[in-house]
Symmetry: C2
Subunit: 249 residues, 2 copies
DNA sequence: CAGGTATCTGAACAATGCTCAGATTATGCG
DNA sequence: CGCATAATCTGAGCATTGTTCAGATACCTG
């Protein structure tokens, strides 16, 4: 809006699009070290830029990190949507598979990018300080929530939801999915607890379901600082694509 | 163990039981400001003690905070157990009420002490660094988990658990409970989402259940720095007791 | 009382978040 | 094109933090 700057890579004094570069680099550092261990100075230095330059684009450390959080929040939904494409159709089986995929993608994203996931739901993106920025994006435009709602609607339309459960099914399903994700990240549940959970949720919703024992679904690769570039969308596409073999270290 | 010092309040040079005092004060600061905003120096200063004194009892900032986290972890289970006493007996109704109470207490604790709750499940108590200390206490001796398992066992013994659900019911119930708790703290679900969640979980387990619309259960009071003392157990008892009128601000 | 040990102090170091005056570049207007 | 204005970045600097270490102080055992 403010800067009509064309999409330059980088220059000598003026960087070109420092804001995007800061977001990209901050995201990488968060993914690698966790949000608390990310310092403004390090981000600035890694881009060959003075520490104070950062403050012309982000008022705060919190502002920078919560901006990253907003992006990641979107990436989760993007990843869910892309995973959803594998199961089109209106049949009950398709609707059921879609709902399951929705939850699985959510948890897989969390496992592949634990620090990024934690950033989204940590105090940095939730604090009263940053709440003014986030709340709109979180409560109303929460795409993950909307995906879940439509997923349940479609399953119900296919006759796959017990009417006794239906009214508040969204709350239970999202809570359960989000719960396993965080409990797995915290080491309180083993990583493969997702599958029994998904099975149990499916049974709760549909009555009975055939056990799907731990399919070898590909995990998202963890982003490292080797692959640094300043185009956020390109990087995101690369990260989101679950085509690469999982090298989660 | 190491110090045979009797339970003195405080003295001039030697503090008496600085370790307990540090834990108590750190816990208060965490509860008030959140774990990230707690500084060693501030904790030391508030006890009239040199900053470096802290490092004779806790090697790290992380060590101090994760010690607080371990205490809080125990407090959650204590609170759950105390809430459980209201529903004794082997009847199906009693077992059902106990399980519901278990979940409600968990979420109420989180709502009343959001920062303490986040500390327990944050990176400070979960990081590979502190994982060596915590993992035993978390995975094996996780009292909240054991309470849930026996609660489900008792409900099943009373014939209140659908056998299709039973095998992995613990995973689903804990995930759902932990999920609502964190989602409520993050502002992604309204505070009263607990009740529909508990209802829906009950229906999943038992088939049908009478709607219990948002009972006015008393919330835990938030601890402030006005009530500072060095006896952890006393303070904990005071905080845990849900007898006082809720003044959640 | 003496000596050893646990405990605490005080000063110091490096790193961090953040501010501000000023240098440097881009941009829009004549 | 030339110039003024705004945007962007630098460099030095301040306050605070986590952490370390030599040394002072108090307790405890013998």
């Amino acid at each position: 809006m403010a800067h009509t700057q064309s999409q330059v890579g980088k220059a000598g004094y003026h960087h070109g699009d420092l804001e995007a570069a800061l977001l990209a680099q901050a995201r990488i550092f968060v993914a690698e070290q966790g949000a608390d261990k990310v310092s403004m100075r390090e981000v600035a230095a890694s881009l060959g830029v003075s520490p104070s330059a950062v403050y012309h684009h982000f008022s705060d450390r919190i502002a920078l990190l919560s901006a990253v959080g907003r992006i990641v929040f979107d990436d989760i939904a993007d990843f869910q949507e892309s995973a959803l494409l594998a199961h089109p159709g209106k049949s009950l089986a398709a609707a059921s598979a879609r709902l399951r995929t929705l939850g699985l993608a959510y948890v897989e994203f969390a496992q592949a990018n634990p620090h990024l996931f934690r950033l989204c739901f940590g105090p940095l993106c939730v604090d009263p300080v940053a709440a003014a920025d986030m709340e709109g994006a979180l409560r109303k435009e929460n795409r993950a929530w909307n995906l879940l709602v439509t997923g349940l609607d479609e399953l119900a339309a296919a006759g796959g939801v017990d009417p006794k459960i239906r009214p508040n099914a969204e709350i239970m399903v999202w809570s359960a999915i989000h719960g396993v994700a965080t409990l797995i990240l915290d080491g309180l549940l083993p990583p493969d607890a997702v599958y029994p959970l998904l099975d149990t949720v499916s049974i709760s919703l549909m009555g009975q379901v055939k056990k799907t024992a731990a399919p070898p679904s590909k995990l998202l690769p963890q982003l490292t600082s080797d692959e640094v570039d300043y185009d956020r969308d390109d990087r995101r596409d690369r990260e989101i694509a679950a085509d690469k073999p999982p090298h989660h270290g």
